[in-house]
Subunit: 357 residues, 2 copies
């Protein structure tokens, strides 16, 4: 053990992100990226920013981006926080709003970064089992807590919690913060951002990585009561004054302003998802109903780890989590039609091959 | 007090960055930006990255950037850590390497983010007074400590600690980490990076914001023994998997590879600094010897706060810290010759005006 490490570091168990392969020839369905490029207006805005002004610091408050988010979600800039990807936004939110005496609550099957943040900041947590159908049951969260956090749609299941259920949760939980992590909301759900004026303890987190095709630019944001946002600003101001570079700010604004491209891209992905879901079912897969840009599926006769390895041999990568309850599932990102056809062809060969054997 | 805030947030005192004015007509000498644009090769590399691949996550390990830094400073990639500006790198280093039982040590007059990190992570510190001539005296750090951190050249004084003194400090302090924060080293000092193979407790932090004219792109890095770097990676992996976006990685690589532009820009700034130092002295200012891209100066007959306000009326902004021992100093960034001439003309009018009155 390195004697220079702080005691905390010795205990940390970092998050392991999905593979970012160097080979561009792979069909990459493992990290839920959008298969379509960002809006041409984003590239144009970025080109416009490529000049000598890169020598200057960005606006530490990223005001133009906050204004664009405010226009998009109909909130004031004091209700908007921005960060270097929604992972940074979540990290600050855990420290600013979820570190209390009581343990926080999140589902047992969820975004696997949540327990990592708890380890980083010394936050106790209880994981609440999803139902057998992988649903969040609101009643299970009716207990004293230091905060509640969950993705909606949930990851990696893709299952959506309805707005009425979120309202029910908020009505029953007024004393601690509820964070709704909406990384995938644009692919089939309704944002809880519409509720922030009614619930001063609601924080909604979104990202431009998925539905805006900007995973490479690192932009996340949170919407909430100005009091919650101020807490995030205090942590941010004690950590890094300028988390968003000049290009990210400009690109983010342009992405939020091009509503047509956004609509087109998310509709295309939802259409493909419906087709892939049906095709997987036809191959004998059980596919959870997904409101995200991925599906979560298992085959009763084929081991998920073996399927993932066999796909990999065919240059197709999907995500497989060796975790309790979900080790027989594959999480498959919705790619282009061409990507998905390649996946389905490969699975057809694998499943039919074994069935014939 | 907002009941949803964590107890920690209620105590935080965030760092206040220098103003980033919206008016581009100002002569901006307040945040130590490089007055010259980044290398044309940086802009070319960025243009090359402006394409549909922004939909994909960046390499979480930013390997190309680590390789470029390794080539520049003659270290292996396992000895390199990269982050979203040197502020993020420093934040992770405080948590990973400076959070021990003993208080850490840093100068009483120094980068004012250090006590803020201590507040964020609950790290006790002792501030060690600089000498009357604003020097760091190595002997003053010969006491039990949880770590030592200082900028070299120091901020906001610009004073340089010689390599021999840093070696003396390291030889006398083997049991805790020493962080040398070299944001300004390229303007007149010699990097301690050459010492990392001999001292497993030395971490050297640099940034591309100043000498590479890329404050707007947010790239910082650290060099040290692979054991120290691993600690930083563990914190980073528990906070945000992708702190550097695709454009920052590409631009950073190009910046490090254009040695000619780098040399030209830092030589120009050093030349201007020498001229400005002499001209300020001719106006009656006491100017501390600076190895940075700014000077720290006071006038025996003029209040620094009043001078800063009067300059501001003339559309020239400099930085003034209302802090003990330095409240009569102005920190003036070295700009272009034209910027500096405007500053000197304004100061000449102010100082001569008062002298005549």
């Amino acid at each position: 053990m390195n004697p220079y490490w702080s005691p905390l570091v010795q205990e940390l168990k970092p998050y392991v992100p999905g593979e970012q392969p160097k080979l561009s020839s792979l069909v990459k369905l493992n990290t839920n990226e959008n298969p379509y490029p960002p809006s041409p207006k984003v590239l144009e805005a970025l080109r416009h920013e490529l000049n000598g002004s890169l020598r200057l610091y960005p606006d530490p408050n990223a005001e133009q981006l906050k204004l664009a988010i405010g226009r998009y979600l109909n909130v004031r800039t004091e209700q908007v926080f921005v960060g270097n990807g929604s992972d940074e936004v979540l990290a600050h939110a855990f420290l600013a709003l979820l570190k209390h005496e009581q343990p926080i609550l999140f589902p047992d099957i969820t975004y696997s970064f949540y327990p990592v943040y708890c380890g980083l900041y010394g936050i106790a947590y209880n994981s609440i089992p999803l139902t057998d159908s992988f649903d969040i049951r609101i009643e299970d969260y009716a207990r004293p807590n230091g905060g509640i956090v969950f993705p909606n749609p949930n990851a990696p299941t893709g299952r959506l919690l309805l707005q009425t259920d979120i309202e029910r949760l908020l009505n029953g939980n007024r004393d601690s913060v509820v964070i709704v992590d909406e990384a995938y909301i644009d692919f089939g759900g309704e944002s809880a951002a519409a509720l922030v004026n009614r619930f001063p303890n609601l924080l909604v987190v979104q990202t431009l990585s998925k539905s805006r095709s900007l995973a490479g630019l690192r932009i996340g944001f949170a919407i909430g009561d100005a009091g919650l946002i101020e807490a995030l600003e205090r942590v941010k101001g004690s950590f890094n004054s300028y988390p968003l570079d000049r290009l990210a700010i400009a690109g983010g604004v342009a992405a939020l302003e091009d509503r047509d491209h956004f609509e087109w891209s998310r509709q295309a992905i939802m259409w493909t998802r419906n087709w892939v879901t049906q095709a997987l079912a036809d191959l004998g897969f059980e596919v959870l109903p997904s409101a995200a840009n991925f599906v979560f599926a298992r085959h009763p006769a084929h081991d998920a780890g073996e399927l993932a390895a066999a796909l990999r041999e065919r240059h197709i990568i999907v995500r497989h989590f060796r975790l309790p309850r979900i080790e027989q599932f594959l999480r498959i990102t919705i790619g282009t039609e061409e990507d998905c056809q390649a996946l389905l062809d490969a699975l057809n060969a694998l499943v039919a091959g074994k069935a014939a054997a």
